[in-house]
């Protein structure tokens, strides 16, 4: 079952059909989310208009952790079943996750200054999300440090799996420690405590971000699969080359004539 979907040729066909719909839906949903967030949602009774930062901050925070879970899950599949498509998915997800984490951190800082009176504090939530950002960067650097893509993917997969301990720390940091960051108000036992007029724009924006991630993940995976095919073709071409144009056996060292 998994192998049927995980076949690269099948993935290319499936993603070619899905991609235009996914991309168009992402643009529409984010457009609707922006309209709701900027025009429909009310100002907060305490925070005023500054609360509108929430509609980019919270969805990007959810995506930052969700993409990491995708990356770690794909890494596990790649390590256990040695599936090339899973390795490619993990590598393709990493820069997207890093991007969402960066947006989360910067918008959080821009929200913290007017509401808390500080751009940054080393509380558990902020610090664990910063660690998440560095995990993404470390993964990207490690994966690209090897000439052979498979070895890089294996090393990266181990890092991604070790780093997964950070996810529950991020989620529960606001309960385990006394953080300046507020506790969960949407995904909590007993239901959301946020007003419906603010929850809706937030959810629409989140669906938009999710669709954007799905579309870009497909684009990047397709790019990686084409790149693998290019490498194979170039290898074939270089095997043909000696017969076509023999190269000198030894490079001669000496001053240019």
């Amino acid at each position: 079952m998994m192998h049927r979907f995980a076949n690269p040729a099948r993935f290319m066909r499936l993603s070619a059909a899905l991609l235009p719909w996914c991309a168009a839906l992402a643009v529409l949903t984010i457009g609707a989310g922006l309209a709701l967030a900027l025009f429909e949602a009310p100002a907060d009774y305490q925070q005023g208009e500054a609360v509108r930062i929430m509609y980019v901050h919270v969805p990007s925070a959810w995506m930052a952790t969700f993409v990491y879970a995708v990356m770690a899950g794909a890494s596990a599949v790649g390590l256990i079943w040695r599936h090339p498509l899973a390795e490619i998915a993990a590598r393709a997800a990493a820069p997207l996750g890093a991007g969402f984490t960066l947006v989360c951190l910067v918008t959080g800082s821009l929200w913290g200054e007017p509401m808390w009176g500080t751009w940054w504090v080393w509380d558990a939530r902020l610090t664990s999300v910063l660690v998440l950002f560095f995990l993404y960067l470390g993964y990207i650097a490690l994966v690209n440090a090897f000439d052979e893509p498979t070895r890089g993917a294996r090393a990266g997969a181990v890092l991604a799996l070790v780093g997964i301990v950070n996810l529950p720390i991020i989620k529960f940091s606001v309960d385990w420690w006394n953080t300046l960051h507020q506790p969960a108000s949407v995904f909590r036992l007993g239901g959301p405590t946020i007003a419906a007029s603010m929850l809706w724009p937030l959810l629409v924006m989140s669906v938009g971000f999710m669709l954007l991630f799905a579309a870009l993940l497909m684009v990047r995976m397709r790019t990686a699969l084409i790149a693998a095919r290019l490498r194979a073709l170039q290898m074939l071409a270089s095997e043909d080359e000696p017969r076509a144009a023999p190269r000198p056996q030894r490079a001669s060292l000496g001053p240019a004539q």
Partner: protein, 57 residues
């Protein structure tokens, strides 16, 4: 009309926090989207070029 637009842009005095937040999201996510699509198009062109070269031989 212009007053209402100005009021909207002022964001109740929080303009210098709200707009950079939306701007950063646009730049980072838009940048990732552009980079992804550009790399995709480039790899497809390269593949077409190589495929044509092989077909010609």
């Amino acid at each position: 009309m212009i007053d209402r637009a100005a009021e909207f842009l002022a964001m109740g005095g929080y303009a210098r926090f709200v707009w950079p937040a939306y701007g950063v999201a646009l730049v980072v996510l838009g940048g990732l989207a552009i980079e992804s699509v550009v790399a995709y198009r480039r790899s497809r062109r390269e593949l077409e070029r190589l495929d044509r070269g092989r077909a010609a031989r």
